[in-house]
Symmetry: C2
Subunit: 453 residues, 2 copies
């Protein structure tokens, strides 16, 4: 049995939903379908979820938001028209949403969650109706009735462990089950939504619950790419990567989706297959717990900007027990979280995201470090980019660093910082932001040109 999840763009129009239908019925194991709310049909289109949020806010402020309400309904009815569905399905959605919007608003956060969730919930009903219209047995499944219970954290719900067991019984049901993503119910029976990529989370929870053999995650790309396509044109597709590798790639701004969404599936050892709704015959990318270490040491390259480094030097620092601990404590006290701490003998640098520090706080931190640790010198270097070169077992591959650094030399990129020695699957380079693209392109050239990934 497989869990199949479709993103908003895969369900944005009748035409897209027909593709989804064909994908689902083409494999009898695709019994559990998790759906998002209608997404964008074209680049400057509006997602239904965004319309719903604006609509809910309108009701909270003015008690109404007629245009937005109509805009939402129009999205559903245009889809229904394309699919030749009877008008009454849209009427049901209309009445349902209106009821929700007119409900009690004493808890605005809870109200907002309910309205947001209706996007997926109503779309699931519509899609189930279309499947039946096509002559297939299909049922909308309500998460509460299925037993998906979550913590009461609106916008950041965490699944409650005993949900899995209850969801397992969905295996017994007949027909194709259409399950709305993005939300569950708290113990009071109220809707609570997950964080971003909420439908990915729902799919992963279901995959775990029904002990699926595979979790298919349909998006609008053919695969996870080995490097950011905006930096390298037509980059190689990754056929298979481990969850650990994906996590290291995601860390530095590299994401098809938010990798934490997949945790429930990986906890149950269920592989994930990222596929393209618009090109379902493409193999896509399999994300697994273990893979063969073929195709060279490097599987992907990720990079991100907006880092800075706080350099602290003090003579005989390395004799001073507790210096590092005290330094980190100063950061902690000021609510700063850091990424890495390369160190020399009498100096240490702290690499952190610079958006955490405005000019004032920066000055304050420098003062505190000088005052409390009697540092000889404290200076901040801004606008650094971190480049993550990721590949299983790379660390034990003699020569990987030689290749990477030679590539950077050819690109005339100065390495500001290297962090290697802990992660088994990645090494990290710090460079100036203006060098980021050239650096990534050079490393890609080195490891991927003429290599099958």
């Amino acid at each position: 049995m497989k869990v199949v999840k479709f993103g908003g763009s895969s369900l944005a129009s009748g035409e897209q939903i027909q593709k989804v239908y064909n994908i689902v019925v083409s494999d009898s194991k695709r019994k559990m379908v998790v759906v998002s709310a209608p997404g964008k049909r074209y680049s400057d289109d509006c997602k239904v979820t965004d319309l719903l949020i604006a609509c809910a806010e309108g009701y909270l402020e003015d008690g109404e938001a007629p245009d937005l309400f109509e805009a939402v309904i129009e999205r559903y009815s245009s889809i229904a028209r394309e699919l030749n569905l009877s008008a009454n399905i849209v009427e049901k959605i209309h009445d349902d949403l209106l009821t929700l919007l007119q409900a009690d608003k004493c808890n605005p956060e809870q109200f907002l969650d309910v309205i947001k969730a209706s996007g997926e919930d109503n779309h699931a009903k519509l899609i189930a109706a279309y499947f039946r219209h096509q002559g297939v047995e299909a049922h909308y499944v309500n998460p509460k009735e299925a037993g998906l219970f979550v913590s009461n954290e609106p916008g950041n719900a965490q699944v409650l462990p005993d949900s899995y067991q209850r969801l397992y019984s969905l295996r017994e049901r007949s027909g194709i089950l259409i399950f709305p993503g993005f939300f569950g119910y708290n113990e009071q029976g109220e809707v609570v939504t997950f964080s971003r990529s909420g439908s990915d989370i729902s799919g992963a929870i279901l995959a775990n619950g029904i002990k699926a053999e595979l979790y298919e995650n349909f998006t609008d790309v053919n695969a996870v790419y080995s490097v950011n396509p905006t930096i390298v044109q037509n980059p190689k597709e990754i056929r298979e990567l481990t969850y650990r590798e994906m996590r290291e790639l995601s860390y530095a701004g590299f994401s098809v989706f938010h990798e934490e969404a997949l945790i429930p599936a990986f906890r149950a050892g269920i592989p994930v297959n990222v596929k393209n709704t618009n090109n379902p015959s493409a193999l896509g990318t399999r994300i697994v717990n273990e893979r063969d270490n073929t195709n060279g040491p490097v599987i992907g390259i990720a990079s991100d900007q907006g880092f800075c480094s706080i350099y602290v030097s003090k003579y005989l620092m390395n004799r001073e027990v507790g210096f590092g601990r005290k330094l980190l404590h100063i950061l902690e006290r000021n609510g700063l979280s850091y990424e890495h701490t390369p160190s020399g003998i009498d100096d240490i640098s702290i690499i952190l995201r610079q958006n955490q520090m405005d000019h004032l706080l920066e000055k304050e931190i420098i003062d505190q470090i000088k005052r409390e640790l009697h540092a000889d010198e404290v200076k901040v270097e801004h606008n650094l980019a971190l480049i993550m070169v990721v590949g299983k077992g790379m660390r034990h591959n003699i020569g990987t660093m030689a290749k990477a650094s030679a590539a950077l030399e050819r690109a005339r990129v100065n390495i500001e910082m290297i962090n290697q020695g802990s992660s088994e699957v990645s090494m990290m380079f710090g460079v100036k932001e203006e060098d980021e693209k050239r650096a990534v392109q050079a490393i890609y050239e080195e490891f991927f040109v003429g290599v099958v990934v």
Copy 2:
């Protein structure tokens, strides 16, 4: 005016002292001479200081140590014979040492310090006598009378700041001044010795005190070498290096002398010239505050063994504010000092000297980290060597890392860890101990063969 310091091997025999005499009188600026106790004449010879320690311990335990006492005296008298000095200088030494050994022993530590210091003190008197015997005006200078006062920490005395001013007046004295190294006097007027390389410290303090133009440190090597001669045969000599570079080299078991001994000279901006008593015409090595960045990026390579790494991994570690601080606190609480902390996204490694941890403590630390930080995995890797590649401005030299790592690849050495990004003058590689020599040789080949340093 120059301060000239001679080590024990430069003063081990009459023949050596004649060399010293010729060196001093060959330059009229060499007015202040700091001397050590007689050192080894041949590899399995005994240093007078070691004889004195054994002798003092004998007196503490048995109230006498005739053979050791005689052995000390015999060293002086053999030197006196070689130099055709009258016997009464040796009698003075004999009587002086006997008086010291028979003195009150209620404070054994203080007693030991006095006996140790007598090695330099008596040798200074002997050498001054020889200089006079040669017809040169020379005077023994007693540190107390000259005003060299120190903190009362036997074996680890720290100079008291106001000493410098008093020492300045030595400039006014006529003739060559022979100053015993290794000790000063506490405020009660008692002898207190410096730490190891004590005579180097005395020389540096005097250089600062009299505002010397140069501190000449005579040893038995022609220069500071660019790499450990036991690893690379006939390595290149370093003509000039900065104090900062020497410090980074010294860190990893690379030392002509203990670099901290030179601090007083560097505080006063006085350059140090390391020269060879047995080959005084050799240029030696100049240690300065600033140097031109010529001769390529790398000036020296140092390495040391006996490190281990504690690897800690925990899922979502990089979200956990304070994790690093708590981890370092556990080490601190257990009295462990660490060297570096390379980190991944969900993991961090702590590199430390493994002689700090026996098997039991290691197990205990692992338990504490698991228990208190709920780490997913904690493991210790033993027998690592750290290799320090040092050179001013290297960090901003594009391609240095490429060269170094390419060299390691050619030597089939796997890089366990790289630490670069904080020190301006070094980068560090962690390798397995069994790879250390091959790694150092390869890096030396890469940076030094065909290069003038």
